[in-house]
Structures are given as C-alpha cells and as structure tokens.
C-alpha cells in the first residue's frame, strides 16, 4: 500500500462527544501536518474515522472493525476508562496498538497501549499536595467528589491512602459519588458547605462530563468562593470551561500536564495551528476554539508514533512498541516529554491552574521537570512489587 492507515476512535455523538470530538479534530490536524511534511517513511497517512457513539460495546466493535476490516496500523482513541477497558481485549487479541490520550487512574499496563495522559502521580497527588500547602490554602478537610466509575473511584482510593499518609483522618474526608449526567447539585453543595464549617476544606473533583456545568453553576450561586472552599478538578479543562460562565468560578483549580495559557514558542505555534485548522475546516465555533491537555496528549502521541515507526522502519506492532521506548518529543507544554523505557507512559510535568474569568487558567504551580508515571500507585496495597515496571 502507498498509504499507512491509522484509526481514530472517538465518540462523535452521545454524551462523550462533548469532550472527544475535538480530539478527533486534533488528530486529523496532526496527521495533515505530518502528511504535509512528507508523511511517515515517505508514505502518506490515511485516517479512518469511526464513531463509537459513546457506547462502550460499540467501542469494542469499532476497534475490531478498524483493525480487521480497515487494517489500520495504529488506533488513536478513547476517553473514558471504561471505553478503554472495553477495547483492550480486542487490541490484545489482534496484537494491535492503541494510543490513549487522557488522564486516568492507573492500575493497568498493557503491552498494546501507550498512555499519553497522566497517571495519578502526575496529576491527582501533586494537586492534593498543593491544596494542602500554605500557598494552596492549607486545606485540612477534603471532599472527594466524583462521578461513579472506575477512574474517580480508583483515584479517590489512592488519594485517601495518600491523605492518610499525611495524617488526615477519615472523619476529615468525605467521599461522594454521583452518576454520569447528574444535574442537580443543590444537596451536594449544601452538604459541602456544612462539611466546610468544620475547618478549611478543599473539594477534589473527579466529576466527568456533563455534570460539571450544573455543579459549578450551583457552586457559584450558593456563594462558595474559591477563597473559602477551593475545588480542584482533574477533568475540567479549557474545553469544558467553554460551556460555563466562569466569572463566579475564578480561583477554582484544575491540575493537568498542559494548559493553553502556557507561554512558549511551541505552544504558541500549536495554538496557532489549531486555530487555523479550525477556521479552515469551518469547525463549529471556530473563532473560540481552545486547546487542552488531552488534545496535547493526542498531538504528542501521534508524533511519537511517527518517530517510532520511522525508527523501526515498519508499522509492525511489536517493532513499533520496541521503538517507542525512550522516544522524546518537544511538547507544547514546554517540556521535552519522554516515553518511558518500560512502562508505556510519558514522563510529564505537573501543572496547577486557577480558573480565570476568561475561561483560561492561571498557572499557579508547575514542576521543574517531568515526572515519571507510576501506573501502579504505591498508595495501593499490593502494588509494592510493581513499582519497577
């Protein structure tokens, strides 16, 4: 063949389309950019886009279609952990490659997957440390608020263990879960307020998807300000904030490995390319498009795969996997990210931003260097032996 096919597996309809659509567009932009510069090993990349429609079994089916019908060399896709879990068996069975660009809970290490989003130690733990610090407000009590699925559950399990290690007692931790799409946060916000009466409190939010808007609106209207009870979120980025009136939310926090507001030439170029692409493709709301962390992770993932293919001189799964280890890429975050030699995760910087009135983040903390991922969190019993992986 004179092209190399790659699959793009992001929901374009259904509840997750809110987050995933832009990842598909970024992927297409990146591929167009690579093609414009000569492609991979002199061949053009051909993207095969499918829509798994936010339906987990359909994810598995579409993955199989991409691999066995369209014969793609690699798939870029998935957002939620559950979608990733549902396609995993397919990738293992067919020995194919998946690049997963979203922060997740860890506790997984598959040979066929490269994780370009954050592991808990690259996001959740540093963020919690920050809100406990003097600069972050010195929180003593914690509300762990999340959507009820594997990512928040596992993350909170890790965080609880971490907080224990910092001497926080269980009575000072409140763990609350709401289902996907929950939209009435009156009671929960009232409870947070009550809980916060007992001492300086921070909310650690792993709410995913559609629930964030009603939660923040309720928070804003109930008068809980960031200076009183800061909320630090792991799934709220620039893209999600486009749908919220951020004025009442100023000061609430998010932790990521990249923010659009970071100033460096690579990021400036990245943003510019994205805006130009959005305008050229006439994407809806092209004038106001933003970049965010998973978009950056998608971008980085595709480039690293390209580098690995060129190093391996083949798109063969095993050869590419071998070539991936140690790949480096100067990312828009301003750091040079490196694919770990063994654990299929990127070394990433950690950044914490405060929401600004314009929907961007004011970066109030970032690590000096990149941090190696710990997919097997040391805070989970039984993971001690896996730390070297």
């Amino acid at each position: 063949a004179d092209t190399i096919k790659v699959g793009i597996l992001h929901s374009l309809s259904g509840t997750m389309a809110i987050s995933e659509t832009s990842l598909k567009d970024v992927a297409l932009m990146t591929i167009a950019e690579i093609n414009a510069h000569g492609g991979v090993m002199g061949k053009q990349i051909e993207a095969v886009v499918v829509d798994p429609a936010s339906n987990w079994p359909l994810f598995a089916e579409k993955a199989r279609q991409l691999i066995s019908q369209d014969k793609v060399s690699v798939v870029f896709g998935c957002w939620t952990s559950v979608s990733r879990k549902s396609v995993l068996p397919v990738f293992k069975e067919t020995n194919s490659l998946l690049f997963y660009p979203v922060q997740y809970e860890g506790e997984e290490l598959e040979k066929n997957v490269f994780y370009t989003g954050a592991a808990p130690n690259q996001q959740a733990i540093p963020a919690t440390e920050y809100v406990m610090s003097k600069e972050g407000g010195g929180a003593k009590r914690f509300v762990l608020l999340g959507t009820d699925y594997v990512y928040p559950r596992t993350t909170n399990k890790i965080l609880r263990a971490f907080l224990h290690s910092k001497g926080v007692k269980d009575t000072d931790i409140d763990e609350v879960y709401t289902p996907f799409g929950h939209s009435d946060y009156q009671t929960i916000v009232a409870n947070i307020k009550k809980f916060a009466a007992g001492g300086k409190t921070a909310v650690i939010s792993t709410i995913n998807g559609d629930s964030n808007v009603p939660f923040y609106k309720e928070l804003g209207n109930a008068g809980l300000k960031a200076t009183d009870v800061p909320v630090v979120a792991f799934s709220v980025g620039e893209e999600e904030l486009r749908g919220v009136d951020t004025k009442p939310l100023v000061g609430h926090l998010a932790a990521w490995n990249y923010f659009e507001s970071i100033k460096n030439p690579i990021n400036a170029a990245f943003i510019k390319k994205w805006k130009a692409y959005a305008a050229a493709q006439k994407l809806p709301n092209a004038a106001t498009v933003v970049t965010n962390d998973p978009m950056e992770a998608t971008y980085v993932g595709i480039y690293m795969w390209k580098q690995a293919v060129e190093k391996a001189k083949s798109t063969d799964t095993d050869k590419v996997i071998a070539a991936m280890s140690g790949q480096k890429f100067s990312a828009p975050s301003g750091y040079t990210l490196e694919m770990d030699a063994t654990n299929h995760h990127l070394h990433k910087p950690v950044m914490i931003g405060e929401i600004k009135a314009d929907g961007q983040f004011n970066v109030v903390y970032k690590t000096k260097t990149t941090i190696r991922a710990q997919p097997w969190s040391p805070y989970i019993v039984g993971n001690e032996a896996k730390q070297k992986m």
């Binding site: 749908g243 009136d245 109030v364």
Partner: protein, 538 residues
C-alpha cells in the same frame, strides 16, 4: 493571617488620620508583581494600609485581573472598557495607551483571600449598606480578637440593626477564647441566636478535656452555657436544613415541571409519544444562547435583559420547529401513537446532530444575567439562589398560562375536542389541521420556554434534552396523562420526595427509590394521580 488583622486595624486608623495622599510608591507596586508570595502579600497589606482611593482601586484591579506589569517595573491598571488611554499608572497618576509588553499580574487564591479580606475591612465603612452587610458576613467567617477594636468602631457608626447583629456575632465569635471568663460567657450567650455552623467546632472544643483530664474550659457555668448554645445552634441548623430541603425540592420540582409541561401537551393531550421533546428543550436553550450572543455583540449594555428577549424568541423558534415537524411528519400519524414514537425518535437524532453540526458537540456557555446570579441568604446561612427562585415563579406563571389557554379559551376547547375525536370535531366544523398544528406548536413552544429555564441551571449542549426526557415522561404519566393539575402535583411531589431522600440515601438511591415509588404508585392508581374515572375513559 495575623498580619491581615493588624493591617485592618492600621487601615482603619489610617482612614481616620490621613488626608489625600500622593501617588503610591512604585517599589511597593513592583513587589506586587514579583514572584515571592510572601513579599507580595506584604505588599498588598501595605497598600491596604494606605487606605485611600488609589489603594482600593489597585486592590480591586488586582482582584479582577486588571493589574498589569511591564518588564521595566511599571504597574498599570488597565480598564478594557475604556476606549482611550485605558492604562492608568497609579505610581504616576497618569493614563495612557496600553503598552505591548504589559503582562497581567497573576493572583492565586491565597493572595486573593488577603486582598478580599483587606477590601472587606475597608468596606465596613462603605456608604453602601449592601456592601457593609457582605463585609460583615465575610468577617464572620474568620473572626479574630484582633479585629474587635475595629469592629467596635464600625458598630458605633452602624445604623442598620441587621449589620449590627452580625457585627455583635463577629465580636462574640472572636471572644470565644477570650481569657476573661465573663467575656466568654457573654459571647456564648450571644451566639445562642447564631446560625453560623462554623462556630460549632470551636464550641465543642470548649467541652473537651485536656490530656490530664481537666476540662479545657474550667468554668462549669460557661460549659453549661456552651451546651445550651450548642443545642440552640443545632435546632437552628435543623430548621435551616429543613427549609433548605423544602426549597431544593420545590426548585427541583419546578425544573421537572418546566421540562414536562410541553410534553403534557404534546403527549398528554395529543397522544404523540414525543421523543423529540427533549430536543425542543434543547432548542429553547440554544435560542437563549443565541440571544445572549446577539446581546453581547450588539447591546452589551443591556446584556442583563437578554433573557427577556430569549423567552419570546425561544417560544417562537421552538413552536416554529414544532409546527414544521407537525406539518411535515406527524400529521400523517394521528391515531397511530406508536408510529409517532418511532418518528420522533428519528427526528430527535436529526435535531441533535444538526445542533452538533452548527454549534459543535461541546456545551456552549449561557451565563445567568447578573440579577439572577448569586443568591439571597435567609436564616443566616441558607443561600437561596436567585436563578432557582426566578425559575420557580416562572414555572408557576407558565402553568397558569397553559391552564388559561386550555380551559378558558375556545381554542382550548377545540384542542381538547380534536384530541378526543378528530373526525367528529371536523364534522362540527373545526379545522382540525389547524388545531393540530397550533397545539403541537404550543406544546413545543412551552418546551422552548422550559429550555430557557434549564439553560440557567445546567448544560447547554446537544444532549441536553436526553437527560430530561425520561423524567418528563414519568412526571406526565404519574400525574395522569392529559391532566395538567396532575402534572404539577407530580412534578413538585417528585422534587420534594427526591430532596428529602437524597441526604439519607444519596443521589442515586434516592432516584431509584423514586422510580420504584412511581412503579408502585401506578399499581395503586393505574391511570396516574389525577385519573379520570367512569365510563368516559373507555
């Protein structure tokens, strides 16, 4: 924190003593723009201590991200709304154009807290009664003995009894740990009327024992007083809790009601199993968004009024969409309710995708107008947000209007007649086509109004409708299909039940319990709450 309190005091004294002063020291300003958080905080405090208009202006600017720094060390206040010379240099008292190299000075929560504290201390003397009230309430959160002199001063000047009461409570809270037993006791007695749950831990601590077995509070009388105050506080909190739940329930109920009302017409009255109902809500919400955008663009000054335009606009747009659907598709399906399910399901898919194509899959931002932002504090600590209050009244209004139309107008009579026996209605001379069209249009238009309301509470995205469709059907069916009164009672009832169950069972179990309740309830009343009985039903 201590530094803050000192500052407040100094600030107060300064206000008293200082006349108008020259521009602010540039060095002080420069350190504001620095990197070291502690130095910056100190700078804020020093500026606050100046306590003049410039200081307030600078602090306000810092708080609203309007303070900029240049590499050369100049600090500027940049007001984007000012057409000419938006950049004001407090050090030189001069305005000029915005320089290219000006960078926003970033503020984090810690610094913002300090700035807000400083500002609220200053605000205690503001001529605006509202600002004083907020300032006093803010102080309550972090009451400290060091503030007492300042507060006493403010008290002397204060004329408003509410603010006075708040300030007394601030003093009492601050005095809780006073070494003077009399003061402590007085403080505790004063606090018996407090509604501030955050003093509970402090009071409880007074009842605890030291490691050596002695009480932390040695005075037995005071301890008794503490117990009494705690009990009063608990009662107060319980009442507030209860009222809160009632309000939350009514609020949830009104949301359900607005979501379901349109369906009560299209499904309840017309028998169209309208799966695209949710999308009508969504279109209403997107119309609101469009109105907001247009106002932002063309009438930024009247932005707060965008909702008033959005209401008729949403009604018209959704009614038009509804009428188009009715004319194109549904009119062929009367008397075949199930086909309408299938068809409207298809329509709903297409409408969602249309919105995705036009507006993107992401949510769009709809902001509450300022008169609907925030909330009113009642009973000391319960915040009833304005948007929810407005929506409750709006729901009542819409229900009333629908009731009027259906029961008090000829149109309403025709609508009901056509829905019961289309052929006979035609035979007595009713243009059934027109009535069908208008009824469906009305139902959709009302859904559009519901969409406007929903846009004020949650997401506005292509999937907005999906999350309300099941609930809407439940409400209509529980109330009794075709029964407006039933729909109202069902919506409010479900809202209340939900809100009283939620604290006990959690959000999910509460919802499950409600669904089970609906299933069981329908066993008892197979035709819904307000079922018609008798022969006429068959």
């Amino acid at each position: 924190m201590t530094r803050l309190k000192k500052t407040l005091m100094i600030g107060w004294l300064c206000i008293q003593s200082m006349a108008a002063q020259a521009a602010i020291d540039p060095a002080l300003l420069k350190s504001l723009a620095g990197d070291d958080p502690d130095i910056r905080i100190e700078a804020v405090n020093k500026i606050a201590a100046l306590a003049n208009d410039d200081a307030t202006r600078i602090l306000n600017a810092l708080n609203t991200d309007a303070l900029y720094a240049r590499p050369n060390g100049d600090v500027l206040i940049i007001d984007d709304n000012k057409p000419v010379n938006p950049a004001f240099n407090p050090a030189t008292d001069q305005s000029g154009p915005t320089p290219d190299d000006a960078e926003g000075i970033s503020v984090n929560n810690r610094l913002r807290g300090v700035v807000e504290g400083a500002l609220s201390g200053l605000k205690l003397f503001s001529p605006d009664i509202k600002r004083r009230q907020t300032a006093a309430t803010d102080l309550l959160k972090n009451a400290d003995p060091a503030q007492i002199p300042l507060i006493n001063k403010a008290l002397q000047k204060e004329t408003d009894p509410d603010i006075q009461a708040t300030l007394h409570q601030v003093i009492a809270t601050a005095n809780l740990h006073s070494p003077d037993a009399g003061l402590r006791k007085a403080a505790i007695t004063t606090l018996a009327t407090s509604t501030n749950a955050s003093i509970k831990p402090a009071l409880q601590r007074l009842l605890e024992k030291n490691p050596d077995g002695s009480f932390i509070e040695p005075d037995e009388a005071i301890r008794i007083e503490v117990v009494r105050t705690l009990a009063a506080l608990d009662r107060q909190i319980a009442t507030t809790d209860f009222i809160g739940k009632v309000f939350y329930g009514v609020s949830l109920g009104s949301v359900l009601l607005l979501a379901a009302l349109g369906l009560a017409i299209t499904f309840g009255l017309m028998g169209i199993i309208n799966m695209a109902h949710g999308e009508m809500l969504m279109i209403g919400a997107y119309t609101t968004y469009m109105c907001q955008m247009l106002f932002r663009k063309f009438l930024p000054g009247a932005l707060d009024a965008y909702l008033l335009v959005a209401l008729p606009a949403a009604f018209i747009v959704t009614a038009a969409v509804g009428i188009a659907i009715e004319r194109a598709v549904l009119r062929w399906l009367y008397g075949r309710p199930l086909e309408t399910l299938l068809c409207t399901w298809g329509i709903s898919l297409m409408l969602m995708q249309t919105v995705r194509t036009i507006f993107g899959a992401q949510n769009v931002e709809v902001a509450n107008p300022s008169w609907m932002s925030g909330g009113v504090t009642v009973l000391g600590s319960l915040v009833l947000s304005y948007n929810r209050i407005v929506i409750i009244f709006f729901a009542l209004f819409v229900v009333f209007a629908v009731w009027l139309i259906l029961n008090k107008t000829r149109l309403g009579l025709f609508v009901r007649a056509v829905m019961q026996n289309r052929r006979m209605a035609a035979c007595v001379g009713v243009a059934t086509d027109k009535i069908d069209m208008m009824t469906f249009g009305l139902g959709c238009g009302i859904a559009g109004l519901g969409g406007v309301a929903l846009s004020q509470l949650g997401n506005v995205g292509p999937d907005l409708g999906q999350s309300y469709i099941v609930d809407s059907f439940m409400v209509v069916v529980l109330g009794g299909v075709g029964q407006l009164a039933g729909t109202v009672i069902a919506a409010l009832g479900l809202g209340e039940v939900n809100k009283f169950l939620e604290p006990v069972a959690g959000a999910v179990l509460a919802k499950i319990a409600i669904l089970v309740f609906i299933i069981v309830f329908i066993q008892k009343r197979p035709q819904g709450l307000f079922a018609l009985k008798g022969r006429s039903v068959e």
